[in-house]
Symmetry: C2
């Protein structure tokens, strides 16, 4: 059986730290991603803040989302308010558009008489499509350039872009990134309708809509949902919707009920080595290392930690 | 309900030529993709050669693949030989790795005693990972650059890249592209195991493996298959495999049984306008047109033609 390529990041979710850490190859040689991860130390990983972590439970799967308050603080606040009021419980995944997004929210949002009330949450928020570059905002640049932005890299573990001339930075629409749907007005997003990228990175959305975080667990579920048959991939009947059991803030659960997920830091020498391992594949299978990598092709590993959260 | 973005190319499959062709916007204004398509003429579309068209039938879906003999002529020949011998009938989709590929072939390929014989087809083929640039090979360049290759664009309706200094060109691993799996030896691919890209473009595979064509219809089925739970997304049990009813060459079917699919040509002013419509979105929803587009984000429209094939 032909094995086309190397291990999936998803597979990392099932992994733990090995009992002993293998050494990296000699200096000058490129390690494989697995070698980089095997040689990583506890300091290379972080536990996402439970206050910035959402668990979305649907039939048969738990989706874990890490919020990005450094980029969309008002959306993160509003989303926490909605989640804590039970707003999403019993709502649905309404739209699955192939090679684009899956989207969830209130099927009755368009009908004022039937729409679920937002409660204490705001109906409109100022656009959080980009923000100023600041000294306290980390940024690990990627060296290979980008079709869409002057600079790209990683900030707080998420793919990001910057325009140094304008002094602005924004999150990038890569696979697994989560955003807040909006109507045509730029202040019409509020977090009550969310989408996740399930295909080729729709980078044309960058700076047009607020990205609020990324999926740490469950993409293999969201991306495999049956596609909607209506315009824009909306489902044509309610029977085709996927019901959401609940969304919770991890911080609101007892510590023993939280998942011990750990995310590889993106501001470390280990992460630099990981990027290099993917720019130039050392696996025997590769005969022509690419020598470059696109922002949205850089894996952002997640693992199940061994210690309780 | 918030509509995140514009119409899916998939939706075009359900469309036909409108009875009258609307005019494009005034010169200088950017048309939307829909306006470009509505203004297209019959000459902007082509019918793929039935000898280069495969129908792969699985339970509940027909996948249509257009081969790329200009880039992988030996693989196209071998694949036709395999298909015509019934090689694939009753085999399976074995692997679905999230954000990477779905792959199909013989579950027993690794066991010489049980593997299905290749018959008149060759077991090994010379690598067809790239080819020489030639005057008779069309190439429509994309202006926005690329992270992986010196030049990118489109050739015979497929995403392609070139290195003018080396005089070579190759197909690019974009969403929906189909390749021939291989082992570590570069001549170990033969078309008996095929894969299709179902996630972010794995461009690191470019020039490492033979791309043989692209899916014209059925991506919304292939990309939504349940992910495999084993290493590299292989399914862990045969019960999880998706059986392939049959693969046929369209030319071997009576004309009345062929699908009247039409593909937008990539060497026309209409295609140039389509690319521009996606580089700078004119839709009311967009506030910040990207001003650029990645090779793998350019739609390659397919429609159901009105005349019989």
């Amino acid at each position: 059986m032909k094995e086309l390529a190397v291990a999936s990041v998803v597979a990392l979710l099932a992994g733990c730290m090995p009992p002993t850490r293998p050494a990296l190859p000699e200096p000058g040689a490129t390690a494989t991603m697995q070698q980089v991860l095997d040689a990583s130390t506890a300091d290379d990983w972080r536990r996402p803040d439970p206050a910035d972590t959402l668990y979305m439970d649907v039939a048969g799967a738990r989706i874990v989302i890490e919020l990005a308050p450094a980029f969309a603080p008002r959306h993160a606040d509003n989303l926490r308010t909605l989640v804590r009021s039970g707003y999403f419980d019993g709502l649905s995944i309404l739209r699955v558009q192939d090679n684009f997004v899956a989207q969830w929210g209130d099927p009755d949002a368009g009908d004022p008489a039937r729409a679920r009330p937002l409660g204490a949450a705001k109906a409109r928020l100022p656009a959080e499509f980009e923000r100023d570059i600041a000294p306290d905002l980390p940024f690990t640049p990627l060296m290979d350039g980008d079709v869409y932005a002057p600079e790209v890299g990683f900030s707080h573990g998420m793919p990001a872009a910057r325009d140094p001339d304008r002094g602005t930075t924004w999150l990038a629409h890569c696979y697994g990134m989560v955003g807040a749907g909006r109507d045509n007005g730029i202040d019409t997003g509020n977090g009550a309708e969310l989408y996740v990228v399930i295909g080729q990175a729709p980078r044309q959305l960058d700076r047009n809509i607020a990205l609020v975080g990324r999926v740490l667990q469950g993409m293999e579920y969201l991306a495999a949902l049956p596609r909607g048959g209506g315009p824009l991939g909306f489902h044509e009947t309610r029977a085709q919707h996927t019901p959401i059991t609940s969304i919770r803030v991890a911080a609101d659960l007892p510590p023993g009920d939280r998942l011990p997920l750990e995310v590889l830091r993106t501001d470390t020498a280990t992460f630099d080595a990981l990027v290099e391992s993917r720019r130039n594949r050392r696996d025997d299978w590769y005969h022509h290392p690419a020598g470059a990598i696109d922002l949205c092709s850089v894996p952002l590993p997640v693992r199940v930690g061994t210690a309780p959260p």
